[in-house]
Each structure stands twice: as structure tokens, then as C-alpha cells.
Symmetry: none
Subunit: 220 residues, 4 copies
DNA sequence: ACTAACGGGACAGCCCGTTTAT
DNA sequence: ATAAACGGGCTGTCCCGTTAGT
């Protein structure tokens, strides 16, 4: 969620369409699909490695391509922009669906908390190392950081809409947006803290503290 | 502060020498020196202004040179690198001062609220008409919008630091950062709402609602 | 004719083999053969159409493939090269035929004038409304405009050849080419004027004026 | 005239400004100016040489740059596009000025004829070899040919305007445009003929024939 | 048979920082 | 001292034609 669903940024047409279908067509991948997915991951993996070694700006697409043993043009077939390689489209439960799946009787704030708890591990558990690297990049490199905020802002809007549906309030209700933005602010703070501490902190615990603070009213 | 901290991923060489000489030799200016210093400051000023408006990467040396009314090459006579122009300037101290000026006995959250009330007009709405237009621009143009978040993020850091001083807690305290980010999230939400409603809403009232929601604990 | 003659500057290899087999084995088609031939012709037809509209360079294989409802790769199964699609089709014989059909005793210039009168409606104005729109487009869009001149230039060549036959002069006779180009220049001017005036003028009348001016010698 | 004044095609700003001033500041060139002009010509010369050797498409900007001993980027400083290297901005008497300088009492058609006569030699005399090559390219390569027609069309418009001024007629007068387009048609025919005959024909004589044909009324 | 994926390469735009001329 | 010109590099786009998978 934090850095996913990036492709809505692109109005470049159908270049990534086949990738989008990777996750959907899980019935029987097919050699082609699997190969493509593998290439996709290889590029990303090598890119991250190079970014951490040399820095984002100092790494060229050509180097990435070479490391991934593809041609530079192929790189752009998979990622429309050098930036995009950092903002993975992990094909996992969207925040949206996770919240929608929460039982209807559950209080809204609780639903969000639980959804976040379910999501964060699946997003980072499989390869914690690399997501950490990715997040660090997204935070340290100005151009990437900018996109990070963009995405969070989009998520705030989604969250506000979901809350509106769940509570039956007017989607334009100011309180709704306050809640949504505050929620995401503290979640982001938790994640950032986790990143700053090099993944050594317990993300789940931080998340709980974050929501607790929200519910209690800001303590100071 | 914000900008300066971006570049810790870059390996920098030892090329501050010429700058050092400038600032050190202040004993007896001399016309030439003063002129040089003035150019130096003009460049820096204009550069920072552009960085804030467009973002560091999106700002080109050429633009800076034009704004400072020099040629691109002259830029490099004053600053060996584009980066160097960024490493001396300090932050806009407005918000900082405003909070520090609040009476010490006042509860932290109250101090922030009051400071915000004073700050918002100066930051966004000194001339309501014009700043509305500017904000609309900042929200609609991706590059500027990104910059807006950057600035707010910087302010969150400042706020956290101030809270730490005022409450005597460890600056690294997680709760502090939660509060700071939540505060700014709702403040920004208020401002955005105000903008979306074309300035017809009462910004002060929105701000009060925002803080009320925070203090009460998120309402949903 | 026009298009085919463009490529004399290109060194071509010997890769027409597959095409040759297609056209030769026409003794007893067979379903598969016929289907293949049909696809072959569809590609060629659509390609030529696009070339005429957009110009050769500006037309991509991808566009041709889409128009022919095949994949870009299939294009290359039928034509080893983008160039090859162009080397078999003959010209649109309309103008040619129209002039040839004029009675032999008629003076050349008169034959041309009459042929033009018959030709213009079919070339530009069969459905006045639509062809007006098409012409406007062809004039306003640079790429299309360029194409228009190309076609006219081709027609000039055709006209020169016809005049040579009708008058019995050497096809390389300079006077012939002068006449042909001047003819087309004024005809096109008439058409353009008609378009500029939104089709309100009488095209036939303009055409008569154009030829009158030519015959009288330029008036100024 | 035939292939000149190309830069009005570009709305790219002030990249070529300094070049434009080359011809104007003829008082005392200055080393810089001279060097720049020399580079400009070297690029053009080498490009033409390569184009005729390898063909336009087969020649890369990189090769041209290497031949001219500059970097590829520098190439684009001088010519915004690979095409532009063919369409020289020879800084010589514009058609416009030449016609305007003709005595007022002279019949319009005569003024145009004389202007053409004055212009053509100066345009081709200095380096007939290379202009011939350039024209051949402009005629044979589709993309370039398109631009050639564009320019001629622009010149027709200019000519029509000049004729309107000289004769005092309404600029929208149909006869004016007929004359202008017919003039240019025959002039172009003369030039093309000259090119086709490899510059062996007498251009001035062809020109005279062309105008004679015009004045007499098309002969057939 | 068909087509997705790929390779290779060109163009053009931009940008930073150095060298060269004034 | 100032600025023009330049070099070198990189991104991203496009396109043609081949190869490998369905």
C-alpha cells in the first residue's frame, strides 16, 4: 500500500497491461507469464542493489539493464520510468479490499487499524530486506519522496471514501477527511520510524501505538 | 533543513574552499568583495526560492542563473556545484518563532493551535485572494504539490523538535512525532478544504474543528 | 508510382522470395492460400491508405498492423520489410483515364481542363461536406499537408506524360513539364481557395478562371 | 530562397539566435562568431558528404558529429533536427527584399523574374556542387521533400502578398494567388530540371523559358 | 500460424560542469 | 570577470525486425 499501485500515474496506454494481468491469471501462469514476472523481479532486484551501492542518481538505466542482463530498451518495457522501479506494484491485497472485507459492525477506526495490521506484514514480510531498501530510497531521494507523498495523498482520498461508505456520512464531510489524513499521518510516521531504525523496531507495535494515540486524542 | 538533509546519500568532495574564503574575509569588505558577496547571496536566494517552488531536481542551473540575472557559467564561479548552493541557508523560522513565543505555561497542543492560527495567514493567506490562487496552483500542478508536502514534512520535523523542547521529552520520542504529524495532517486538511471551497469557508473555524477532533480522539 | 519512386536511394537486398511464391502459386488456390492472399492484400491496402494519409515515414508498422487487424509481428511474416509493402501496388489511375478518354482531336489544354472538371469531384468533392472537412484537415495538419503536395507532384508527372503522348513531343521536353506544373499549381490554388471560403465559392467557376488565367498568360 | 529561411519552423525559442546574428553583425565578426560559422559550415559540409555517400537515413547524427569533430550534442546546438542540416539558412538576399528593391514602375511579373535571376546565382554560384547535392537530397528523401514543399508554399504566400502590394489589389484576390502559385510552379520546375540534369543545364536559360511560357500563356 | 517479448539503435531533449574567448 | 561554446552523459521514445513461446 505504502508504495504500490503506482501505475495509475501513467496515462501512457497499455504498456503495462500484461503485467497487470500477471496477478489475475493465477490459474495457470504459463511460461511466458512466469518468465516476464521473473524478469520484472530481476530488474527490480538488481536496480535496488545498485541504488544502494551507488546511489539513485549515480545509477544509470544502462547499468541496471546490464546487471539484469537485458537491453536498456527492455528496461523501459517493464518500467516506464527509472523512478517506477522503486515504486513496486506488489500484487497483494489493496488497502481498499482489506478494509471492505472487515465486518460491517466493526467501528470504522478499528477496521482501518486491523486492515493496516493485515496489510503491512504481507507487504514487507516476504522480503523485508528489500522493501526496507526501497523505502529508504523513497525517503532519501527527493524525486522519489515526492512520489511517495503523492501516493499517500491518493490513499487518504481512498480512505476517506471508504469511511464515508462505512459510516454513511456525506463523502464531503470534513470530519471524515480529518480522520483519514490523521490516520495516514500516524501510519506513515510509524513506518518511517521503523525505517529510520533500520527495521529493528517492531512495526506492529509502532502501529498500535500510533492508533492508540489517535484514539486517545493527541496526548500533549 | 529539509533540503540540506536530502543529500546525505551523496558522496561529496572537498570543494567548499572558494566559498570559505568568501565568508571568512569579512574583516574589511572592499567594494569588489561586497559586490561579489551580493551576487553570491542573490544566487542563493533565487535558487532557494526556485527549489521551494519547483523542487531541487526540477530546478535547473539555467533557471537559477536567469533569476539571479547572471549567466549559467557565472553560477559555477560562485558555487562549484548545484548542490553547494543549498548547504548554507537556514530554514524559514516563522513557525518556529511563533511557537517559541507562546507562553511557557501553556499546554503544548494549545501553543501549537495558537501558533497555527497566527502562522496560517502569514504562510498561506496574507493576501487571501492571491494566496488562494497560489495554493490552487500548488495543489493542481504535480511538481508544486510535491513541493508542498516536502515543506509540510519539514515543518513536522520542526514541530516535533519544538514539542520535545517544550515538554522536555526525548526528541526521538515516537509519541512526539505522532503528534506532530497528526497535527500537520489535520491542519493541511483544513487548508485544503478551505481551498477546495474556494476560500468561502472560515479557515479559522476549520482549524478549530481540526484541533478539536485531534484532542477528542478521532471520532469514527 | 509516387511512393515507389522514393526509394531508389536505398540499396535493397534479395528478400522478395516469399512474396514471389505467393503470387506464383495461383494455379489452384486452396482455402489456406486464399486466406493468406487475402491477409496479404488487406495489409497492403491498409498500408497504402495510411501512407497516403500520414506519409511513409510517419506511418508505423504498428499502425498498419492495427488497421489490418493483425499483430505487428505478423506483418513481417507477409512482408520482410516495411518497404516491401510498397513495391507492388500501382497508381490510382483516375486522372490518367479521364484525360485519355478525352477525344483525340481536342486541344491538350482543353482536354486537361475538361478532365479536371470531371476529376475534382471524384478526387476531393464526391461528398462535398465530408471532403471539405478532409481537405481542411489535409491543409491544417503539416504531415497531411505534406502528403497532399506529394500527391500533386505525382499527378504533375502523370500529366506531363499524358501531354507528351497527346502532343507527340519528347516526354523530357521542358515545356511539357512547365505546362503540367503550372496547370496543377493553378488547379490546387483553386481548390485551396474553395476550401478557405468554406466551400461557398463555386469550384467549377474558380477552375475556369484558373485555366483562363493560364491561357491568357499570367495577368500582372 | 528555394531552401532557406528554415528556422521559422522552430518554436523552440532562442537556440539559434546567435547564428541568426552572424549575418547581421558583419561589421567585425569576432573570433567567436567566425569560429561558430565555421563549425556550422563544417557540420553541414560533412553531413552532406555523408548523406550522399550513405544515404540520408543510413547516416547517423553521431557519424556526422564525428566527421565534423564535434560532439553529438553540439550538433543539436547548431541544428535542432537532423533534417535542418539540409535546409540551410543561407544568409543572403531574401526573395522578399529582392522583389521589394525592384523599381516600382516595373511590371510585377518582370520584377519577379528579375528577382529570381538575381537570386538564383548567388544562392548556387558560390558552391554549386554542394547546393546540388542538397537539392538532390531534398528531392529524393521523402521527409525532406515534404519540407521543401512546405517552404515553397510559404514562399507562394509571400509572393502573393508582395504582388498585392505592388499592384494595389486586394490581398485576397484570386488572380493574385493564381499568378503567385503558377510563378513558383514553373520556377521550381526549372530548378528541378536543372537538378535532374546534374547542373549541366543553364539555370538562367531555363528560368527565362519558364517565365516566357507563363507570359505567353501555356502553349499546348 | 500467430504473437508476445526482446534486442539494438537512433533521435532528440536536457543538464551539469569545463574550457575557451572577450 | 564574465559569458559563450562545448563535451559528455543520461533519459525516454520510437521503430524495425528477430526470436522464442502458445
Amino acid at each position: 500500500m505504502l508504495i504500490s499501485s503506482n501505475f495509475h500515474y501513467l496515462q501512457r496506454g497499455d504498456r503495462m497491461s500484461s503485467i497487470a494481468t500477471i496477478s489475475i491469471a493465477t490459474s495457470r501462469p504459463g511460461l511466458r507469464e512466469r518468465k516476464r514476472l521473473k524478469t520484472y523481479q530481476t530488474i527490480q532486484h538488481e536496480a535496488l542493489k545498485l541504488f544502494t551501492q551507488l546511489g539513485y542518481d549515480a545509477t544509470t538505466v544502462e547499468q541496471i539493464a546490464e546487471a539484469a542482463q537485458i537491453s536498456p530498451s527492455t528496461f523501459f518495457r517493464y518500467f516506464p520510468t527509472k523512478e517506477d522501479v522503486v515504486f513496486t506494484e506488489e500484487d497483494d491485497p489493496t488497502l481498499k479490499r482489506l478494509i471492505e472485507e472487515r465486518p460491517a459492525h466493526e467501528p470504522a477506526i478499528e477496521a482501518v487499524r486491523q486492515a493496516m495490521h493485515e496489510w503491512l506484514p504481507t507487504a514487507f514480510a516476504d522480503d523485508s530486506e528489500e522493501s526496507l531498501a526501497r523505502l529508504k530510497l523513497a525517503i532519501s531521494v527527493p524525486a522519489l519522496r515526492a512520489r511517495l507523498w503523492e501516493q499517500q495523498q491518493a490513499n487518504v482520498a481512498i480512505l476517506a471514501e471508504l469511511l464515508s461508505r462505512r459510516t454513511g456520512r456525506d463523502p464531503a464531510d470534513f470530519a471524515l477527511h480529518l480522520t483519514a489524513s490523521a490516520c495516514f499521518a500516524v501510519v506513515m510516521t510509524a513506518v518511517l520510524t521503523w525505517v529510520v531504525q533500520d527495521g529493528k523496531a517492531d512495526l506492529a507495535a509502532l502501529l498500535d501505538q500510533a492508533f492508540a494515540a489517535l484514539e486517545a486524542g493527541v496526548p500533549l
